[in-house]
Amino acid sequence: MLKGESGESLAVAYRILLAIGEATEAERLIPVKWAHISGVNYNTIGDSGVDFLEQISKSAKVAIRTTINPMGFEENKSTNLSESFIKKQMSIVKSYRMLGTTTSFTCIPYEIFDIPEKGSAVSFAESNAAVFSNSILGLLTNRESALSALASSITGKSPYSNLMMEEFRHAKLAIKPDYELVTELDYGVLGYFAGKTVSDSCVEFNASEEKLDTMKAKALSAAIGTSGSCGMFTQGEGAQQEVVTCGKEEVIAVKDELNTAEDGDLIALGSPQLGLNELHLLAGLIEGKRLKKRCIIFCARAIHNQATNLGLTDRIEHAGGEFMCDSCTCLTPLITRTDYDSVITNSIKAAYYLNHSNRIDVSLKDLKTILKEYADYN
């Protein structure tokens, strides 16, 4: 479809922006300050994606700061991945380099890069990042697709519609949790229920903690992104006309769907990738202990470097934790049915994709419970 001629890729970018502009009833395009692109892991875009990116990168360059999602593995770390996977993955990486993106390989750009001032328009694919940025950081972005964020990175523009506009950033429906919200997993369950329930772009949560810590906000954002199309949450009184209760029955329904095993052979942490505060927490919880199961910690290289300087990676590795940079649990080629029957995780998003895409059973437990059950004192 693409011939790689100059102008051709710009035409493709505008064709995408035109279509999403029509869909969201935008009257104009506005400049955006930052694009974050998904579709980096070969397992997510396949051969046609590899070819598409190779073609478009021949004639296109990003016009604004552009960061990219995790890929399928950590380069230079020994894995049992096929040569074919590695070749295709590295072709994708090469294309993103040629496009001029910052090869951040992270799904938590909001914990790594400096954040533009509140109210700035950005274009974020990667659903957890879009929801988190709208809800916690006050940035303005629609739930962009991998292709629409790419189009915005090349043109520097995005349609002025939906969550870019103040009127869409107020929820019409509120969800009232009727169970105790304590752990990050409790928030993940709430988010998964909300994503399924709401068809609007914004939802309000009533009676959740006044100020969510980052770990809980990430779990909530990622789960909303997984099950629905909602791109933002607010916290408040829940004075909306429509109020839906998320009670014990609803929690059981979510867990029945995603928690398919009692136990697992491997602990996977990170979807979204772990941030510095989570690594601090983890290091504290396993201090002086030894993990009884293999535990992979997915994290961004930038975070890993900081954590190393702070001595956190040493402490975690000492207890048996293994770091995997530049990648994430979602559609990872590193966790396969051949090697594992079931995986333990605290992430609703990881559970969904391990179930659906990797076809592996999942045991859902919050981080503290995981470390209580699977780490012993030396």
């Binding site: 479809m1 493709v12 064709r15 995408i16 035109l18 279509a19 999403i20 029509e22 869909a23 969201t24 009833e25 998904s38 579709g39 997510t44 875009i45 396949g46 051969d47 046609s48 994606g49 070819d51 598409f52 694919a125 990667e126 659903s127 879009a130 629609n142 739930r143 962009e144 697709s145 991998a146 292709l147 629409s148 964020a149 189009a151 994503g195 068809s199 992104g225 997984t226 099950s227 629905g228 199309s229 769907e257 559609l331 969904y352 994709y353 659906h356 895409s357």
Partner: protein, 139 residues
């Protein structure tokens, strides 16, 4: 007998095929086999059906932003729908995926549930004329 209703044009072109109808939204990354177009999520209403050559009538996409690439994969693998009708407002994932795949996409048809009642009815989508037509109502 042909009956037509109006809709919005999102991606131009026209396509004809048997309707594949669902009220449930689709995560294109996780729920569909891009090699053959078959819905592989056991919990989905149209589990086991193929979108290949069909006119997919559904509310919209959910979940992964990479779903747009999955739509493109369907096209490259010759397993794409002939056209897509979003019963609600078309979403960004579906719109961008159709845009690079040249799959005609329309949304918000008037009275969709009254008009296209069952899967299997032959439906023509003419996005450029903003029309959806049912050409065979006997199914």
């Amino acid at each position: 007998m042909t009956k037509c209703i109006k809709c919005r044009k999102i991606v131009g072109g026209s396509g004809i095929g048997n309707a594949l109808l669902t009220e449930e939204r689709i995560n294109f990354l996780s729920m569909i086999d891009t090699q053959n177009g078959i819905i592989k999520d056991q919990h989905h209403q149209i589990f086991g059906s193929s979108v290949k050559g069909a006119v997919l009538v559904f509310p919209g996409a959910i979940g992964s932003s990479v779903g747009a690439y999955a739509i493109y994969s369907l096209k490259v693998n010759a397993a794409a729908p002939a056209a897509i009708i979003c019963s609600d407002k078309a979403d960004i994932t579906t719109a961008s995926g159709c845009a690079i795949s040249n799959i005609p996409l329309v949304d918000m048809p008037e009275n969709p549930s009254f008009f296209i009642r069952t899967s299997g009815m032959e439906v023509k989508v003419d996005a450029d004329s903003k029309m959806v037509c049912v050409t065979n109502q006997t199914v």
